[in-house]
Structure formats: C-alpha cells, structure tokens
Subunit: 753 residues, 2 copies
C-alpha cells in the first residue's frame, strides 16, 4: 500500500488479503459455473423451448449493450476531461507530489475515467453474466427435477450463487483496487466508480422492469383474462417473452441493483472514512470497512457452498442454514476485529446494527406480504366485496408498511447518533455508512437467494411447456414457491440498503462540498451552515426533490402499460392465425420478445436524463444548499413511495395466491377474479416502479456529488452556466415529452391502449 505511508504491516497485509478474497470470490463463481454447465439439458423438446428463451435473452442483452455502450463512451470521455474543470483534489496533489501539475491532471483524469468504466463494466458483467448463467441453469434444473429434489435445488442455488459471488467479488475488487492505487486521493475516482455502477443499474432496473412487466401483464391480460387459457400456455405468443422477462427483471435488474448498493456503500464508507482519517490521523477508519467487506465475502463463499442436497421439500431450511453459517462467521470475525484491531466497539456496533436492520426490514416485509400474516389475509378477504375493496385494502396496507419501514430506518440513524454520541456529525455519518456495509455483508447469499427465484420459475415454465410428469412438477413447484419467498426477502433488503446508501451519500455530499469550499478559502462552509430547510430556497429544493420519485414512477407505470398494450395487440393478432388456438400452429414467440426488447430500451433514456439533469438544474439555479435540500427530499419521498409500491404489489400477489390455494372459493371464483385485478395493478408497482427508485435515488446523489465542485466555482450569472442550464432544461422537457409519447419514433403504434 504505497499510497498510505503510515499503514502498519497488519493493515498493509490485510488490505492485500481483501484483494485476494475478491479474486477468490470470482474464482468461486467460475468454479460453480463449470459445475453447473456439466449437468444435462434434458429432452429435445425442453432444449427447443430453452433455446427460444436463450435467444430472447441474448437479443435483449445485445440490444441493451448497443444502447448503453455509446453513452458509457461519451461519459468516460467527459469524466476524463473533467479534470480541466474540476481540478484534482489537494489529497491527489499530495499523493502524486512527485509528478508535475499537468501530469497529475492526466493521472487523475485517467483514474476517474477508468473508475467509471470499472463501475459501469462490473455492473454490466454482474447483470449480463448473471442472467446468461440463469438461462443456462433453468433448463438444467428442469431436467434434474426428473431425477431428484436435491439435485434440482443444488443446481438452482449454485447458479444463483454465481451471480451472488460476481456481485461480491467485483464490488470488493473495484473499491479495493482504487484504494490501493490512490490512497487518500481515492475519493476522486471512487465517485466515478459509484456513478458508473449506479447508472448502469438504473438502466438495467428500468429496462428489465419494463420488459418483464410488459410481457407479464400483456400475456395475462389476453391469455388468462380474455382467452381463458392457463398461465405459461404454449399457445400464448407472449409466453416466451414472459419467461425471458423473469430473467431480465428479477435476475439482471435485481443483481445490478444490489451490486450498485454494495458498491455505493463502500464508496461512501471510504469517503467518510477518509474524512475521519484527515480529522483524527487514524487509518483504521478506512481499513475497517474494507476488512468487513472482505470477511463478508469470505463467509458467503463458505455459507453458500454448504447449501446442497437436503431432505425433499426443505429447500428453505437448507438455504437458511447456509445463510446463518455465513452470518455467524461474519459476526465472530467482526468481533475479533473490534477487539484486537479497532480497540473499540463503536464501528462493530454500527455494523451489527446493519445486520439487525436487515433482519428488521425482513420481518416488516414478511408481516405485510406473507400469506401467513393478517394483512394479506385481510386483503384476500376483502375480495369478497370485489376488486375495489381489495385494492383499497392493499393500498392501505402498503401505506402502513412504508411507515414502519421508514421508522426502522429512522431508528437505525438514531442508533448511529447514540453510538457516536458527542462525537460530531462526521462520526454519525460514518456510522450510518458502516450500517449500510453491515447490512450488505451477506450480499453473496442474498443475491444467490434472489437469483434462485427466476431460475426456479423458469425451470417450472419449461416443465409446463414441455409437459413434464407430475413428480417433477411437484419438485419444481416447491422450488418455485421457495423462490417467491427468497425474492421478497431480498427486495426488502434492496430497498432498505438503497436508502441507507443514499443517506451515506447525502453525508458524503456534505463532507465533500465542505472540503471543496475550504479548499477555495470560503469563510463559511456547508458543514457550518448545514442544509437548512428553514431557508426558503432550500425548502424549494426539497419540494422539487420530493417530486422526482413521483414523476419517475408515473412515467414508468405509463411506459409499462403502453408496452403491455403492444403485447396485447400482438397476442390478439396471433390468436387470429388459423389453427393456433387449436395448437396446430406454433405462435411466433420471437415477435413478442422483440416488442418487449425495443419498448424497454426506448423508455430508458428520458428516465436517465431526468435523474442526471434535475440535480444539475437545481444546483445551478438555486445553489448547493438547495441541492442538499433536493437530496433530502428525494430520499424521504422516494423511500416511502418505493416501499408502498413494493409492499402493496407483493401483498396483492400473495392475496391472489392465498385464494388460488383454496381460500374464498379458490381458482375461478369471483374472489379470484378480483384478486387477479389486484395482482395486475400491483405488478408494475412492485417489479418496475418501486425497484427503479433505488438506483434513481443514488444516481441523483452521485450526480450531485460529482457536480458539486463545478456548482461551487461558477455563479449562476456566468454565461457558461446559463448555456448549461438551458441545455439541461431542454433535455428535461424533451425527456418528459419523449417519455409521455412513448418515444417519438413509435408514437403512432402506441396509441392503441
């Protein structure tokens, strides 16, 4: 660790160990891959269906790359040249004091650009590679279900673990490499790293979310509701798109989302740790989060490997065993770290609070969305007076769950205040960042559990389409049900960690702006004044910030309904083909896949523009303090709205399942019809709009952090700023119009809903 002169041998060695653990995680992922690929892909018919899914997935991934790569290229160049507007930090100058000023600029410019590419690239790899593996896994799970439950479970979980270990390994690798290379100058590049990952996650979340729900809602509306054929019926032209969608949304989207939270917490942890290092001279505040992460990855490797053949029907027990093993190893190691390295317990407590937080959020999520508890039962029972009361009940429960989840977050921040009582804001913010790191300790296990969901779901779909026997179906049904539970748990962690990550970014914003202001010789910094919502202009910023998640959600929901209507038309068109409904003619699955792919990519751009440009406009027009208000507004309103949508959607889904399992008349009853309406309303809320808010909140925070130096240096009277502002405003208006018209190119086609 050439970059930090005062590191002890233990510190130097252990940071290198963390790097080795990162590679270990990646090696473990490759090992699992080769294990999974050895299994057979089943009958001819299964392989045929599978190749349709694979074709659809590949098409989506290719198109996604084509849309995103040019943008990454442009942003990379911009970030490189940004050093000529935002000069390297004092720390960077100190770190490379042996170089000339021009050379330092070049080095830092490269560092920013490469870090951005790393962030974006890693996020892409997690999403794309993970999804490809999920597609490889599903048919093998399906095939294994004909032999034994244990084998099917093992393949499904191991395939999921590949994505999990990629998330872990790449997240750890990026942060550690940047830290080793740059030392105290790391924040300069870390922001680029975070921004790259978050932006890509936003793309994959939004694109995946629109794709999956357009296919799902579209297929259901014509298939189940209009034509009265079952789910996953091969006559439905959208059935393959639906299966592809599960991978695109739940696998690629979710993995990229969690990867980004994982990344952002380490970014803000390091930035806040560095500010403590600057204040106290103690290196341990920076080393600690890296070690915690390393330990987490290591224990995930062990824990996930323990999930193997179990007694039939006990998938969840086996998965949980792995999870608790990992948790125990982590907590024990953290305690050792606290006792023998940190020589104090506060940082340990923060991390432990993070683990508790994950558990608490999980419990709240379960209470409101699990079929065993009152809320879902009440919602199901409200179906007796029709879909309207069922929906109202779901809305009320969703509202309430948003309250409890937010209060849990409030208690978490409160405990950070208590842990660092009397130590000042910097310590408290550091504590919040450590809570985030604690919460995501077992990301490997979490992502494995989550990816397990769509793999089992797809395996079941392949079994249905290829007519597997009853015994195999039973195995797969059981795995599928387990998958639904694990997906719900991960979703809770994803939202909670997103908010905690956003709060630590908010803290980084404060620290960073202050540093810049001090560097410019300002007499009063943002740290002194704070972000005062009692100042009218900051209040205005907060109002604007609070609006963004609502605007974003509105545009996304419309995008889904629009895309779904295209699918509806397509399936209707194909139903009219003679012989298709009789099963004599195969529908054209590819066309439905194409429609979803195009629709999902088309809607991405305006949403990304809003997230990137809105903070710039507010920052330029109203100043950095108002921008701070905006960040506060985005976090608070985004959190409540995201949880509401995720919970209501999940609860409606499970209310429907409760009825399908026999309550209130069972399948086909009036109650069931009411519940299907609720589920359809909930689908885009829980799988598209809600989850998309996670990366969106963080993109806004990171853009603000990146732009802060420019905003502080230039006044709003500056001509350059006025030009920038006009361009920004034009971009936003263009984006909203574009989005509302469903993309100008395809405006006509979308009129049909």
């Amino acid at each position: 660790m050439s970059s930090l002169s005062n590191a002890t041998t233990f510190e130097t060695v252990s940071v290198w160990c963390v790097l080795i653990i990162a590679f270990l995680g990646l090696g473990y992922a490759l090992l699992l891959r080769s294990q999974v690929l050895k299994f057979d892909k089943g009958t001819q018919q299964m392989q045929e269906i599978w190749s349709s899914i694979k074709g659809g997935a590949d098409a989506y991934l290719r198109r996604q790359l084509k849309t995103i790569l040019p943008l990454i290229a442009i942003l990379t160049v911009l970030l490189f040249f940004s050093v000529y507007i935002v000069p390297p930090s004092d720390e960077a100058v100190e770190r490379f004091s042996n170089l000339s000023e021009d050379k330092i600029k070049l080095v830092i410019g490269f560092a920013r650009a490469i870090a951005f590419i790393m962030g974006a690239g890693f996020s892409l790899i997690v999403g794309q590679f993970g999804m490809r593996m999920a597609v490889e896994g599903n048919v093998r799970v399906s095939s294994a279900s004909r032999r034994s439950f244990g084998e099917a479970l093992r393949i499904a979980y191991r395939t999921g673990t590949i994505t999990g270990m990629l998330t872990d390994g790449l997240g750890l690798l990026g942060g550690t490499v940047i830290f080793i290379a740059l030392g105290v100058a790391a924040p300069d590049a870390l922001l680029g790293f975070g921004f790259g990952g978050t932006l890509l996650a936003l793309f994959m979340r939004v694109g995946g979310g629109i794709y999956t729900k357009a296919a799902d809602v579209g297929a259901d509306l014509v298939g189940k509701v209009e034509a009265g054929i079952p789910e996953d019926d091969p006559r439905n032209a959208a059935v393959i798109a639906d299966l592809v969608g599960d991978n695109v949304g739940d696998c690629a989207g979710m993995a990229a989302d969690i990867f980004e939270s994982y990344e952002v917490t380490i970014v803000s942890g390091l930035i806040l740790g560095l500010s403590l290092y600057a204040a106290t001279g103690q290196l341990k505040w920076i080393i600690f989060p890296l070690l915690v992460r390393g330990i987490g990855v290591f224990s995930s490797i062990i824990g996930t490997y323990l999930v193997r053949d179990s007694k039939k029907g006990n998938a969840l027990t086996s998965i949980n065993k792995g999870f608790y093993t990992s948790a125990a190893i982590s907590l024990g190691s953290f305690a050792l770290l606290a006792a023998f390295y940190m020589n104090e317990w506060r940082a340990f407590l923060s991390v432990a609070v993070g683990i508790l937080l994950a558990v608490a959020l999980d419990e709240v999520t379960k209470h409101f969305t699990d079929t065993k508890h009152r809320p879902v039962k009440d919602i199901a029972s409200a179906s007796k007076s029709g879909s309207a009361t069922l929906i109202l009940r779901g809305i009320a429960e969703g509202y309430e769950s948003a309250v409890w989840q937010t209060l849990v977050i409030a208690v978490t921040i409160m405990s950070s205040i208590l842990i660092y009582w009397g130590q000042g804001v910097s310590f408290v913010l550091y504590g919040v960042a450590m809570t985030g790191i604690g919460m995501l300790t077992l990301t490997g296990n979490n992502v494995a559990m989550d990816s397990f969901g769509p793999i089992a779901d797809n395996a079941n779909g392949i079994a249905e389409l290829s007519g597997l026997d009853k015994d195999s179906r039973k195995v797969l049904d059981s795995l599928d049900a387990t998958g639904n539970t694990t997906k719900a748990i991960t979703k809770g962690v994803a939202i909670g960690s997103a908010v905690i990550a956003a709060v630590s970014l908010f803290g980084s914003f404060l620290t960073d702006v202050t540093k810049i202001q001090l560097g410019m010789g300002a007499s009063e910094t943002l740290f002194d004044t704070g972000i005062r919502i009692s100042s009218p202009i900051v209040f205005v910023g907060m109002l604007i910030g609070a609006c963004i998640p609502w605007l974003f959600s509105s545009l996304i929901i419309n995008a889904v309904t629009r895309a779904a209507s295209l699918i509806v038309n397509e399936v209707r068109r194909q139903f009219k083909i003679p012989g298709l409904l009789e099963g004599k003619v195969k529908p054209d699955y590819q066309n439905a896949v194409d429609i979803c792919t195009i629709a999902a990519q088309r809607e991405l751009l305006p949403l990304a523009v809003i997230s990137v440009v809105a903070p710039l406009i507010v920052g330029i027009l109203l100043g950095v303090e108002a921008l701070g208000g905006l960040l506060g507004g985005v976090i608070v309103s985004g959190q409540l709205l995201a949880v509401f949508m995720a919970t209501s959607g999940g609860a409606w889904d499970n209310a429907k399942k409760t009825i399908e399992d026999g309550a209130h008349g069972g399948k086909g009853s009036d109650c069931h019809k009411a519940a299907v309406v609720g589920d359809t309303v909930g689908d885009p809320l829980k799988d598209t709009a809600g989850p998309a808010l996670n990366p969106m909140i963080k993109v806004i925070n990171l853009v603000s952090l990146l732009a802060a130096p420019i905003l502080i240096q230039y006044k709003s009277t500056d001509t350059g700023m006025i030009v920038t502002l006009t361009i920004c405003a034009a971009l936003i208006i263009g984006a909203i119009l574009y989005s509302k018209k469903g993309g100008f190119r395809k405006a006509k086609q979308t009129k049909s809903l």
Copy 2:
C-alpha cells in the same frame, strides 16, 4: 385601537372598518337565509324524503357535538392554565404594563382560552350551520326546478353563499377582534384561535369523509354492483345515508376545512407581520393583511349577489361572472392600497401571486381531472383492457399531477424569494403568508361554489326518489354537473391553500421559537442555526414527519372500508325483508344513517391523537430542531400524497362519467364496469384520505407552535418530561391499536368485511 400606540388615524379607522365588514358579511348570510327559507318545499312526497335526510343530518350533527364538546372543554381549561407553564410573552407584559404580573397571567390565560373557544366554535358554526342550510336548500331547489332553471340556480347558489359568507365573516371577525384587543400581544391568543379552528376542521373533515364514503361505497357495492338497481333507488336502505353523506362530507367538512385555512393564513400572517413590525417599527405589515381580507369579504358580498337568474343551462357562466367581478374589485382595491397606503408594491405582488397561484392550481387540477383533457380520456380508454389498466393509468396520472401541483407551490415560494430579494428570511416568509391570504381572498365565492355542489346533488336525489318529471330532472342534472365542476375547483384551492398555510406556519414556528429562545437569553437561536436536515437528528425528525401522512391515510382508508362493510351487511340484511325488493315495503333508512354516524365518530379519536401527540413526542425526545424537521417532512410528503389521492380519485370518477356519457360502449358495458371499480377505489382517496390531510398537516404545525415554549424550557431528562413522554407514547400506540381494531367496542361487528 388602543393596543397600538403608533397607529395613524387611517390605520385605526380602517381596522374598525374591517370589523364592520366582518359583521356585514354575517348580516348578508342572515339575509340570504331568510330569502332562501321563503321558498316552498314542494310536494308531500318530497317533504317526506327531505325529512329523512334532515333527520339523518340532525342526528349526525348532534352526535358530533356530543363527541367534540367534552374535548373542547378539556382543551379550553388546559389552555387557560397553560400560562402557568408558558408565561405570557414579553409583548403581552408590555401591552398590559398597567397590570400586576398575576393579573397579566389571568388576562392572557383568558385570552388563550377564549380565542381557542372562538376558533373551535366558529369552525363548528360554519360546519353545522352551513350544513343545516344546505339541507334546507336542497328540497327548495328540487321544488323550484319544477318552475324554472333560474330560480333553482339562484336558491342553490344563495344557500351555498350562506356558508361562504359565514366562513368569510367569522374568519375575519376572529382575527380582527383578537388583534384589536391584544395588539402586539396577539400571537399569544392567535395560536389558540388557529388551533381551535384547525382541530375542529380535522374532526369534521375526517368524520364527514368517513361518513360520506362509507355510505356511498356501501350503497354502491350492494345496490349497483350486487343487486343491479340504479343509484338513488328508494329500495336501497343506504340511499338516505348517502344523501346525508354528501352534506356531511362536501358541505360541513369542506367548509370547516377552508374556514380553517382562511383562519390559519391570517394567524400566521399576523404573527409574521408582528415580527416585521418588531424589526422595522412599521405597523403597515400587520394592517395590510387585515385590510386585504376585509376587501376580499366586501368584494365577495357584491360578487355573489350578482349570481342570479341567467339564461337556461348557463349556471357556470353566471357563477363565473360573480367570481370575476369579485376578483376585479379586489385587485383594484389592493392596487390602491399598495399605491397610497403601503407606498410600495411588494406586498401587493405577494397577494397577486396568491391569486395567480389559485388560478394555476385550478388549471392543473382541471387538466388532470376534467373530462375534456387527455388524462381522463386516456384513463377511460384504458378501461378497454379492464379495470387493472384503468387503475394503473389513474395512479400514474395522479402521481404526475402531484408533481405539477407541488412544482407550482415551489414556484410560488420562489417568487416570494424574488419579490423580497436581499431582505432576509422574515420578509420571504411574510410574503408566503401574504400569498396564502391572496389565494383565499375570494373564499366567500369559493365556498359558495363548493356548497352549491352537494345542494344540487341532493336536490337531484330528492327528485329521483320522489319521481319528478323529465323537465325538472333536466334542470337538476345540469345543476348537478355544474356542481361537480365547482367542487373540483374548490378542492384544488383547498389543498393548495393548506400547503401554503402550512408553510407560513412553518415560518411562524421558526420566528416563534427564536423569540422564545431570545427571551430566555439563548446565545444561538433557531433562526441562526436553521433547521438543518444535514444534522442526523433533524433528518430523523424529517423521516418521522414524512411518515405521518401515510399512516394517517392508511388508517382512514381502512376506517372507510370497515364502515362500508357494515353498510353492505345492513343493506343485504334489509334486501332479505319480504316485499322490499318489490317496492312494497319501505326500507329502514334510519338504521343505515345510524351506522354511518357511529362509525364516523368512533374513528375520529385515534386520528386526532396521532396528529396531536406525534409532534410532542418528537419535540420532547429529539428537540425543537428535529421538530422543525418533522414539520418539513409532514408538509412535503403530505402535499404529494394528498394531491395524488385527490387527483386520481377525481380522474377515475370522471373517466366513469365519460363512459356513462357514451364513450367505449356506455353504461352497462365491460368498460363501464371497469370504470366503476376505478371510481370505487378513488372515492375514499379523493373524498376522505386526501382532504383529511389538509387540516392534519396544520394541526401538527399548530401543536408544535403551541408546545414550542415548553419544549425549549424543559430538557428531556426532566422527570415531568419522561412522564409526559410515556403518556404520549401510550396514547399513540393505543390510538393505532384502537383504530386498527375499528374501535374496541365494536371490534367483533367489524370482522365481517
């Protein structure tokens, strides 16, 4: 004006003139009453139906009084004795410098208590008297419809104007009397006045909202959906409860709500004006808002009187003529005031911005809820793929409208910043308060327009039940449609003014806390530090604050569905009575009325407890700055949520109307069925949960203002505070449990939904 020594003769005379105008307004209301009562009540059958409605309304009002009066009594006593904890302000001591310290306490104690009674009492009068008049008016409108359109319109509008002038007159009277009596000591009592009005408005809004929607949803679910009989069919036992509900919700609830905004804007205007007076020595900052209000009332009297017989079918034109006349008189007079009294234009500009704001909010509301514009058309068209897509579309439009409405508020605050550029926060806050006053200038006209709605609606209901001829029905249908439009317009103004009023209260909080801190010799006041959301504890306060509107809405929606299920059971029970469905036996209307009345009152208490106790807990535990954060959170999240619910609900309602008017297959089609589901979902959102947030936000602000002196004086370590805290926490938990169980007493009965 004995209280202000440096008032000019013009100022003294004009304040007394304002008082006279207040009495003029009240006299005008009495005049209109005697005019309306002279008209006949129609046939025997009409009078029979009417007396059922009147009976139901009376029962509700009596029961409401019985629930509320004890609480008012307790709070009055508390406020009187509060002087022994929160001593009179320095201004009060100065004002009554001729009295001994003990006597000053006595006087101020009385002032607080009486002001509270005045606020609560006036609010009650507006609600109760206005509703009684509406009930008197409806049958007379029904009867007049048999003669001429012009006569029916005149009666309906005049009856509405009675409520409007009561709101105007009493609001103006209270503020002016307190100001004349106490002068610079007025804030001591003004807060009590505001609190009384707001608390009562909360009760009437929530109670009325639950009543009206329980009856409406309940009646529709069994009548229209299950039994397939038309709306307002006399065989439906809930039909009278439904008609009573229109008065309870739209008339009493809305009038009390607007009265309270009217009152609170003058309260915060005077408090902020007094702080400017203290800073500049210029009395004009206090006199100006009073004069503006006086002029507004005067021009409302003239404008509303101009609404009379018009050409058939042109009700809205006639009403608008009156509105624009009032607006023109007001604006002209304000300009004169600015030129010859204020000798500057800034305050005038603020008031003008308020009027523009009302217009802008109105336009946004219309765009999203009017049948003529794209959003409602799109929602109606989404019914083609079923109720799920219709609901999703409505949610998306509601989200978006919340964004635009909030941005309009942001622009308003921004313009206040620009108008008072370089003048400091106090002036900007004063400007925001003046904007609120400007917005509510024409409250007389607005409330008249709003009350017109339920009167026309009820008149139509009476006509349906008593089988009036086609021509009369045509007249009433036209009036009813106009009423729907005017109601929607007022709703937009009500929400917007609530937020502006809350923002000025938030400003008063800052000013007031600072004054107390200065009085106690604090070295650093809240005005110096500001409310810094960058401080973790304030951020926690903001998170908690942002939760409250969501919790509140969740509890209210559940309360409505619970009460509606009771009505469903009751109507079902009565349908089984032999002969009832054949029309041979009359149903027992009274029972349905009783169920609604009891349910509405039962659910009030927990909601009131949450609004009152939550700010106290945060204030005690986390301090005044965190309490400031809470207020910011409540305003921001409450505004977005309230607009979303109001707009989505309104849009679904009108989407249904669009289809009923013949689009997409018209009445009875599948599209219509889908739209009915949307409308039923929207009903409790737009008429109960959404509007209830207005007074709730302000109750929280006022409680914080009232409690601030206590919170500053006592530390959280104090035993007394711990006791208070425990009681508060127990109250909140009790309230949530009570509310979730639907009241302990009736817990069993409510299991049935």
